[in-house]
C-alpha cells in the first residue's frame, strides 16, 4: 500500500503536556513537510489574550532553528514564554529538525555570582520537567533552588527537561536563591552540561558519586564549556554520595576539585544500597552522615544533609533539622516550599548560643583594640578556635537576619 508507506515517511515529533489537569505547560506536535512553509494551528486557554503572541513566538523559534517547512500543532494550557520556547524546540529536535541550532529566550540580568561559602541552609528541589513550579520558587526564599534533571525526570523526557531548565536559567527570576542544577549520572550528565553551563548556573550537583574520577570528569567538562562560551562566573560543585562506596571515598571526592563547595548525601539510594529501611530517626545512616560531615570539614567544604520526606510532618522536620545541625551539617534539601521556613529555623543558632558568641566576639574585638593577644571573658580565657567559631557563627547569624544591624537591617 503506497499511501501507508508515504504516511510512514512523514517525520513527526512531539513534546510537552496538555489536557486533563495540566497547567502552565504546552503540547507541541511537529510534522515535517517538504514544502508549504510553516503552518501553525493553535488551541490555547489563553488564546484570547496571547494567541497572536504564541503564534509569533513559535514561528520565531522555528525560524531560529532554520526549519522552513513544517506543520506545528499547539495545545497550550497557559504556558509562559520560556516554556513554549523549550517545548517547541524539543518537538522540532525530536522530529530530527534544527540540527545543533538553538532558540534561546531573552536573558534577564543574572543575580550576583555565588560565593563558595555562601549560606546553603535550604535547597528547594524543582522537578526539571514541571514548569509550573519554577516561576514562583524564588518567592519562597530558599537559599537555593535545584533544577533537577535526574531522578524527578522520566528517562524519556531527559532532552525536554534539559531545554526547559536551560531556558529557565535564562528567563526565570529565582530571587536571591542560588541557582543549582542536578545533572544526570555520567555520561548523560555531560550532555546536560553542554546546555546548562553556558547559562551560568551557580552550582552543579553530581549524583551518585563513588569515585573522584567522576568529579574530575565533570570539572573538566565545565572548564571546557565555560571557556568556549565565555562563562567567567564561578560554577561550584556539590557531589552527592548515595552508596556505601561513595561514603567510603568521601574525603577523596570532597578534595577532588577546587570547584567543590559542599558535600551531600542521598539517603534513599544509600539505604537501598545497604538493603536497610530508611527510618524517621535515621539510625541506619548515622555513620554515613557523620562520615560526610567529617570528610567535608577535612576538605574545608560545607556538609549538607539529605531531605526529610514527610511533607505533612513539620515537627519531625524541625527535629531532624536541629539534630542535623548539631551533627555539623549546614543545611538540607526541601521537597516543598513550606519546609523552607522550618529548616531555616532549625539551622539557626539558639538565642543562648548567639548571645555567647556575641560576647566572645566583643571580647575578641576589645582585645584586638587594646593590642592584647589573649582573649578573655570574665575570668575565663578563650582559645583561638572558640573565637573563630564565634566569629563564624555571628557572621552567619547576620546573614540569617538574626542580628539587627544599625544600617537598615536585612534586605
Amino acid at each position: 500500500m503506497p499511501a501507508a508507506a508515504e504516511v510512514s515517511q512523514v517525520k513527526r515529533g512531539e513534546a510537552g503536556r496538555a489536557g486533563g489537569d495540566v497547567r502552565s505547560d504546552v503540547h507541541v506536535t511537529v510534522e515535517e513537510h517538504s514544502s508549504g512553509g510553516i503552518e501553525i494551528s493553535l488551541q490555547s486557554r489563553v488564546a484570547l489574550y496571547y494567541g497572536d503572541r504564541i503564534r509569533q513566538q513559535v514561528l520565531d523559534t522555528v525560524r531560529e532553528l532554520g526549519v522552513e517547512h513544517a506543520h506545528l500543532t499547539i495545545v497550550d494550557e497557559g504556558a509562559l514564554p520560556f516554556v513554549i520556547g523549550a517545548r517547541a524546540e524539543t518537538a522540532l529536535k525530536r522530529t530530527g529538525l534544527g540540527g545543533s541550532n538553538k532558540s534561546l529566550p531573552d536573558a534577564i540580568p543574572l543575580p550576583p555570582a555565588s560565593a563558595k561559602d555562601r549560606m546553603r541552609r535550604s535547597r528547594l528541589y524543582l522537578p526539571g520537567n514541571e514548569p509550573k513550579y519554577f516561576i514562583n520558587a524564588g518567592l519562597h526564599a530558599p537559599d537555593a533552588v535545584i533544577l533537577d534533571l535526574e531522578d524527578s525526570v522520566h528517562h524519556a523526557e531527559k532532552d525536554a527537561a534539559r531545554l526547559l531548565v536551560r531556558n529557565a536559567l535564562r528567563a526565570v527570576d529565582f530571587g536571591a536563591a542560588e541557582r543549582m542544577v542536578r545533572i544526570n549520572q555520567l555520561p548523560l550528565g555531560l550532555t546536560d552540561l553542554e546546555e546548562i553551563v553556558p547559562q551560568s548556573p551557580d552550582l552543579i550537583l553530581i549524583p551518585k558519586v563513588e569515585a573522584v574520577t567522576q568529579v574530575a570528569e565533570v570539572d573538566a567538562a565545565i572548564a571546557r564549556i565555560a571557556k568556549q562560551f565565555g562563562v567567567t562566573r564561578p560554577i561550584w560543585l556539590m557531589p552527592i554520595l548515595e552508596s556505601a562506596l561513595g561514603i567510603e571515598n568521601a574525603l577523596a571526592i570532597a578534595t577532588g576539585s577546587d570547584r567543590i563547595a559542599a558535600l551531600t548525601i542521598g539517603l534513599e539510594d544509600y539505604t537501598a544500597d545497604l538493603g536497610v529501611v530508611k527510618t524517621a530517626t535515621g539510625g541506619e545512616s548515622l555513620y554515613a552522615r557523620q562520615r560526610v560531615v567529617n570528610a567535608a570539614h577535612a576538605a574545608h567544604v560545607q556538609a549538607i544533609d539529605s531531605v526529610y520526606g514527610d511533607m505533612a510532618d513539620m515537627e519531625g522536620l524541625q527535629r531532624w533539622g536541629e539534630a542535623s545541625r548539631a551533627m555539623g551539617f549546614e543545611g538540607m534539601g526541601c521537597i516543598h516550599p513550606m519546609q523552607i521556613e522550618v529548616i531555616h529555623r532549625a539551622f539557626a543558632p539558639s538565642a543562648t548560643e548567639l548571645e555567647k558568641a556575641l560576647k566572645i566576639v566583643a571580647a575578641f574585638e576589645d582585645a584586638q583594640a587594646k593590642g592584647i593577644g589573649v582573649v578573655s571573658l570574665g575570668s575565663k580565657m578563650i582559645d583561638a578556635p572558640v573565637v573563630n567559631r564565634a566569629v563564624k557563627l555571628v557572621a552567619r547569624a547576620k546573614q540569617m537576619g538574626l542580628i539587627p544591624s544599625s544600617e537598615g537591617g536585612r534586605s
Binding site: 486557554r45 489563553v46 484570547l48 489574550y49 496571547y50 494550557e77 509562559l80 514562583n136 518567592l139
Partner: protein, 535 residues
C-alpha cells in the same frame, strides 16, 4: 425576537456605560459610594388575616403543585428561592419545573444565588417557562446569559442588595419557595437540624417577610413548635412535606480543605502577617473571611498568630467553617456571626453553641437600613478575578466578559475597616492586575489592600496603613510595580477581548443603582478559571 429593551445608555459617576431601563423598570445610574439618597417608604406586602388560615395552625398542602396553585401561580410571576442548600438543592429546580408543568410561562426566577445543580433552568428558559433570572449566574447558566440567549437582562445583586431591592420595592416576589431542613406544620422553620441541615437560613428571611405568598418545603416535619425558628410561621402560607430537599453531601462539605498550593499559602500567610503587623489584629478586633482555600489558610495562620500574641477577637463573621469554630471553642473569638454555614463542624456548632449566631442579609449587609454589621468589621479578606491600577475590582466576570461568579456578600464587605483582596498576581498566563477591569463590581475607593504572592499593594488613599506596616519587613510594593513584573513574566500585556455592544446583565451597587453593564460575549473561550471569594 429579543425582548431586551435596548434602552438608552448613560455614563454613571464612575465612568461606566449603563442602561436606564432594565426589564421594563427605570434605573438610577450609580452616583458614588454614598451618592444615592432613597426617598419614600419601604414596600409593604398585602395584609393577610388569620381568618383565611386554619385556626389549628396546620398549613400543610399535599404537594408543591397544590401549594403553587393555591398561591395563585400565573404567567409572568416572580418565584424566589435561596442557596443555603448550595449545590445540593433540589427545591428551587423542582418548584420551577412544577410551575412549568402546570403551564406557567414567562416566570422570573429570583434566586439568592444559583449553583451548577440549577443548570436545567436553561431548558425552562428555552421552553419559555422562565423568562429570565435576576440573581447570580455562573457555569452553563452564566454562559447562556453571557451569549445573549436570555430574554431579559440578568440583574446581579449583592446579598445586601437583594434585601434592599425587595425592601425598596424594586423586585416584587409573588411566591417565595423556602427549603427548610426542619419545619413544623405552621411554617416555623430552622436550618440547623435535620438530615439536610445547612445552618443559617438567613437568605430566605427577606422573602418570608416581603413575598405575597410563602411556601415552606421540608423533609423533616417536626411537631409544633419547631425550635429554634429562623423563619416565622406567621409569614408562611403553606407547608409542603417532601422526601428530600437536597443531597446532604453537596449541602455541606465534610471537611473544608486548606489549600496545599505553596503560592496560595504564601498569599494567606502574607494577609495574616499584614493584619498582625499593621496592628489591626489586637484585642477586641473583628474580621471576616470566606470559605475558599486561601481564606481558610488565612484563618489558620491568623489564629496561630493571635494565640502567640495572646489576642482575642470580639467577633468574627462567617461563612463559617471548622476553622472559625475552632477559634470559638478555643476562646479566640467571642462570637461567630454567621451568614452561611459551610461544613459539618460549623453546622453542629450553630446548632449547639449559643455564641454561634445565624444572621441575615438584613442585619449583616442591607445598605438601606440603620447601619449594618459589615461596616463594623475591622478587616475583611475577599477574592477577585481582576483588579485595576485604581484598585477597582471585578468579581462577576472573567477578563473575557463571561459571567463567572455571583457578587455574594462581596460588595457589602467592602465597607469593612480594611478590605483586603487576596489574589494570585496571574492565573495561568493571565495577569490579574489590569489597566481597567472588564466588569466593575467594587469601586477602588473602598478597596484598601491587594495581597498577591509577589507582594502587597496598599491603596495610596490609606496612608495610615502604609505608615502602620513601614519597616516591618513586609513586601509592600506599588500596584504598578507588581503589574509591570507580572506583564514581564507573562510576555506583555494581554490583548483585550472584544465584547459585543449589547447588554446581557447589569451589576447593581448596594443601594440599587446600576454600577456596570455585562456585555454580550462574542468569542468562544475555553478558559473558565475557578475563583475563590465573593460567595
Amino acid at each position: 425576537m429579543s425582548a431586551i429593551a435596548t434602552a438608552e445608555l448613560v455614563t454613571n459617576a464612575i465612568g461606566r456605560r449603563v442602561p436606564t431601563l432594565v426589564n421594563g423598570r427605570e434605573q438610577t445610574p450609580y452616583a458614588g459610594v454614598d451618592g444615592h439618597s432613597p426617598v419614600g417608604n419601604k414596600y409593604g406586602p398585602p395584609i393577610r388575616t388569620n381568618s383565611d388560615y386554619p385556626r389549628n395552625g396546620d398549613k400543610r398542602a399535599p404537594d408543591l403543585e397544590t401549594a403553587l396553585r393555591l398561591c395563585g401561580l400565573r404567567d409572568g410571576m416572580t418565584i424566589s428561592s435561596h442557596h443555603h442548600l448550595r449545590n445540593g438543592d433540589r427545591v428551587a429546580l423542582t418548584a420551577l419545573e412544577t410551575a412549568a408543568r402546570m403551564g406557567a410561562k414567562d416566570l422570573m426566577w429570583f434566586p439568592s444565588a444559583s449553583f451548577p445543580c440549577h443548570e436545567p433552568v436553561i431548558d425552562l428558559m428555552k421552553s419559555g417557562a422562565v423568562h429570565h433570572i435576576e440573581g447570580s449566574m455562573n457555569g452553563p447558566l452564566g454562559d447562556f446569559c453571557s451569549h445573549g440567549n436570555m430574554r431579559g437582562l440578568g440583574v446581579l445583586r449583592s446579598h445586601g442588595g437583594r434585601w434592599q431591592a425587595v425592601q425598596d420595592g424594586e423586585v416584587h416576589i409573588d411566591i417565595a419557595v423556602i427549603a427548610a431542613p426542619t419545619a413544623d406544620f405552621f411554617g416555623n422553620a430552622d436550618g440547623a437540624h435535620g438530615k439536610s441541615a445547612c445552618g443559617s437560613l438567613g437568605f430566605a428571611l427577606t422573602d418570608s417577610v416581603y413575598a405575597d405568598r410563602v411556601i415552606v418545603v421540608t423533609d423533616n416535619l417536626v411537631p409544633f413548635p419547631c425550635i429554634p425558628w429562623q423563619i416565622q410561621g406567621n409569614n408562611v402560607d403553606y407547608v409542603v412535606e417532601v422526601e428530600s430537599i437536597g443531597d446532604p453531601s453537596k449541602i455541606v462539605s465534610g471537611t473544608t480543605q486548606i489549600t496545599r498550593s505553596p503560592d496560595r499559602l504564601r498569599i494567606s500567610y502574607l494577609v495574616a502577617q499584614f493584619l498582625r503587623d499593621s496592628g489591626i489584629m489586637r484585642n477586641g478586633f473583628s474580621f471576616q473571611a470566606g470559605a475558599g482555600g486561601v481564606a481558610l489558610a488565612f484563618v489558620d495562620y491568623l489564629a496561630r498568630m493571635m494565640k502567640e500574641a495572646g489576642v482575642k477577637a470580639s467577633f468574627v463573621r462567617g461563612g463559617s467553617t471548622k476553622y472559625l469554630v475552632d477559634m470559638l471553642k478555643e476562646g479566640l473569638t467571642g462570637y461567630i456571626l454567621d451568614g452561611q454555614t459551610f461544613d459539618l463542624d460549623a453546622v453542629r456548632s450553630i446548632a449547639t453553641d449559643p455564641r454561634h449566631v445565624p444572621t441575615s442579609p438584613f442585619t449583616s449587609y442591607n445598605f438601606h437600613g440603620k447601619g449594618n454589621f459589615a461596616s463594623i468589621v475591622d478587616a475583611c479578606v475577599l477574592g477577585a478575578t481582576e483588579v485595576d491600577v485604581n484598585f477597582n475590582a471585578n468579581v462577576v466576570t472573567h477578563s473575557d466578559g463571561r459571567l463567572l461568579h455571583g457578587i455574594g456578600g462581596w460588595q457589602n464587605c467592602l465597607f469593612a475597616g480594611c478590605t483586603i483582596l487576596a489574589v494570585p498576581s496571574f492565573r495561568d498566563r493571565i495577569p490579574v492586575i489590569v489597566d481597567e477591569v472588564t466588569t466593575l463590581t467594587g469601586p477602588g475607593e473602598l478597596i484598601d489592600v491587594i495581597a498577591t504572592e509577589r507582594g502587597i499593594a496598599i491603596n495610596p488613599k490609606r496612608q495610615d496603613l502604609l505608615d502602620a506596616v513601614k519597616g516591618k519587613g513586609m513586601p509592600i510594593r506599588t500596584i504598578e510595580e507588581i503589574k509591570a513584573e507580572v506583564e514581564r513574566i507573562c510576555g506583555g500585556k494581554p490583548a483585550k477581548p472584544k465584547l459585543g455592544d449589547r447588554p446581557v446583565a447589569v451589576v447593581k451597587w448596594v443601594d440599587g443603582t446600576v454600577l456596570d453593564t455585562v456585555w454580550q460575549v462574542l468569542e468562544d473561550n475555553p478558559y473558565s478559571a475557578k475563583v475563590a471569594g465573593g460567595e
